[in-house]
Amino acid sequence: MHHQTPMALPSPGRPAGTLAALDDLLRQPTTLLARTEAADGLAVGGRILGASILGWVVYGAVAGLFQGGGQTLVAAVKAPLIVLLTMLLCAPSFYVFGALAGADLSGRRMLGVMVGLSGMLALLMLGLLPVAWLFTVSSSSLWFVVWLHLLVWAIALVFALRFLTVAIGSQRARGALVLWMLLFAVVSFQVTTYLRPVLAREPGAPLVESGKMFFLEHLGQAWKVDGKGDR
């Protein structure tokens, strides 16, 4: 795959530092990937990852406003943990999927792709943050809010898939990437279940529930909390 030449200096009017990296991620993903492979690539990657974590913290805090109070803080901590743990679990399979599809994934390249993925997910979630906030603070149904966040997550994943297709540089790999992204989504549901409760917690309940369960059962609980399962 041919990489575009990285822009050495920010031109007048062009954002600098972290904003420039995020700008590249949106407009010229291949430029960003090339930058992460350059000598200061680790610093660029670190800035994007830091900004992504901050983005997820903000998104989590807004999601926690559904119940408000201490749960805002709890959700702000758990949201980045959910995405980071999911990425950690899924990264090895991404490397093998990509390599088998013919992508030239060096260690730095892999790091750049993962950091780019995190940035893309965070940007999309922040882009939809006002919408999520509006529905979160105006809704009293847990079931509705769960679906709202699932929708936001699905939109973020679709655009992240587009980024990954560009990053891998092979249309041949698109089918494998779609499969991987579905797997990524399912793993994120299970991680969320493991770290539950995120959106709402009974008074006096622990910050993390100890019982083990599958994410389908967790979804079913949200359904029952609203009493819709009895209809």
């Binding site: 399979s93 093998v96 088998l100």
Partner: protein, 237 residues
Amino acid sequence: VGSALLALPLGLVLHRRGDLLAEVAQGEHLRRHWATLTLLMTVAAALYGAVLGSWHGGLLTLYVALKMPLVLILTSALTLVFNWLVAVLLGFPLRFGQVAVLTFMALSVGSVLLASLAPIAWFFTFTSPEPTAAARTTHNLLYLMHTGFVAACGLAGNVSLWSALRRVAPSPATARRVYFLWVVTYALVGGEVAWALRPFVGSVYYPVVFLRDDALDGNVYEFIVVGILPHLWSRLQ
């Protein structure tokens, strides 16, 4: 030393399959390639096997880490002669060593992909309810997850086999016929070998054993259709 020993075959399968196939087509270094691929496949399959068996604790973890590579090696041992004969009879004059390397290359690709899914499989296993008699739904979901992973990775291995055969076969039609017969034979035999070597996930009703007393009764397809799917369907009602 261990990681260096594995990095070489891993690079061969993930990044230099073209070089490998060129040498296979020339009939060069077949024994060395076969040994390298067998090592890689064994380690990767054992790694996933350890995760597969981990729901029931340490003993089944160990058993399945041994049994996963065993399934692949036994199935290959049972089908290699037939595969070689079929190739020769269909006008694809491969040497026995070439058939062995092509077969184990496909198995290695599938196993490496499977090993890369091990962290995900481990996480689902680790976060699942304990294996009690009341956890049949969990057992069935884990069973379906592992079956799905193994099937998908097997498919990826098959894709690499198909690419390899297309590259070295005398004609596309010959490659198609040989590929079809090899895959069907391997799937049928592999399904039964895996069934005979059960348990892998481990039953919620029976104790952990290396092999069951009724090892040669029934087959895996029958179990999914008659046992698992009706139970999950009834849970959805």
